[in-house]
Subunit: 240 residues, 2 copies
């Protein structure tokens, strides 16, 4: 049996061409896209289409039909002008999103997910960590966990979340860890006991709290509060 | 007085356009370019010119004149065909390099240094950590420490080295740390007591030891063995 390799990419720029072939891929953007996508799927959204640019998102929503779609997204943390929803998970209630197609455009998560269009990708956050792990432990293939970060830079909350996945997958198992996975594991050990405090102290968390999104941080910090695994396949995110 | 910001970029892809303006910039490639550059400068090399591609390096060496130049560099860890030196610090003795211009072409360090041509950059490794810190503590400006990593990916040895710089600069001082700097500090705390073991366990260290470069790891792990600070200015590296 081949020893399982576990890779943690601490920022999206680390992912080179072809790196992901043959891997089970997981994408993380704790603040806030992957948390919000989990909540949207748990609230019964039909599908989520991640887009790179707002103009592109608007055109797609028009094409599909505005009666069945919602435009969601942010720039600099705030809802995009003319969009139906921002990027706060608290907005994605069953009342708003059930049965809808969400065309979504966020600063950090969406560009990564757009790049991953051709790759089946599980969407992970603290809120659905257990559900993601269950899917990953079901098979023994190599794993690639990718952190969205903040404007292409390392972000602590994504690395800790990724590190917790690495820790669980490598606990009492013989695996090969990438250097990033080793670092993530150490970060998880240091910070997993108080996720909310870690998020509040992070660069992005501090920024969002300053904009008045403190409740989003508390929402994002609730480990295993949702049991969904949103999966990206050919540009569409649906429940697994 | 403005509070000093300390940024640690854990992989080169994190460095965006304009990010470095107004910063004191430090570049790290422990295995092996920055260690080797320190050794070359300590051995009396006149200057080092980092180049992206071997062909470009060959042309430049011809233009300057082959009597005063040495071509140095590696691909996949091994000396490039027709080059005078590889990228092992042990080769860069005073007998070989004193008074010479080194045209240098390495896989990870050189592309980063080529990109930084317009930015004054200190070259750091474990071997000259104290000397670099002395330069950085002399002033109070914002700092950007950049890890070369391995093929654009996070590498443990660079992150630990960068984290040790962060730790020293932030000890008993009020500073603002980037998320990457926070992570680096934790890595430094975990690994700084046995640098050689950490390097030997890293992905790149394991690879180089397998090629027979185990002594290079031991050389690279010697904290403060050299007192030089190589500085990149307008494409040329010389002693500070």
């Amino acid at each position: 049996v081949k020893t399982r390799r576990i890779n943690l990419f601490l920022s999206p720029g680390e992912v080179g061409e072809g790196t992901l072939a043959g891997h089970q891929v997981v994408a993380i953007d704790v603040l806030r896209a992957s948390t919000t996508i989990c909540q949207a799927v748990a609230s019964g959204a039909r599908e989520i289409l991640p887009m790179g640019a707002p103009e592109e998102a608007r055109r797609l929503a028009e094409t599909i039909g505005r009666d069945t779609t919602l435009l969601a997204g942010e720039r600099e943390g705030r809802v995009i002008g003319g969009f139906d929803l921002g990027n706060s998970p608290l907005e994605f209630t069953p009342e708003r999103v059930r049965g809808k197609t969400l065309v979504m455009c966020t600063t950090n998560g969406s560009p990564l997910l757009s790049r991953l269009k051709g790759v089946e990708t599980d969407i992970a956050a603290f809120v659905n960590l257990g559900a993601v792990l269950q899917r990953l432990t079901g098979t023994g293939g190599d794993v690639a966990v990718i952190c969205s970060g903040l404007f292409g830079r390392f972000s602590l909350e994504d690395a800790v979340c990724g590190g917790m996945i690495v820790s669980k997958l490598s606990f009492r198992r013989k695996v090969i860890l990438s250097d990033g996975a080793v670092a993530g594991k150490l970060l998880a050990r240091r910070y997993s006991r108080d996720i909310l405090k870690m998020i509040q102290g992070s660069h992005h968390g501090t920024y969002l709290a300053g904009l008045g999104f403190g409740e989003d941080l508390a929402f994002a910090a609730q480990v295993d509060s949702l049991s969904v695994v949103p999966v990206l396949r050919e540009g569409r995110i649906t429940a697994k």
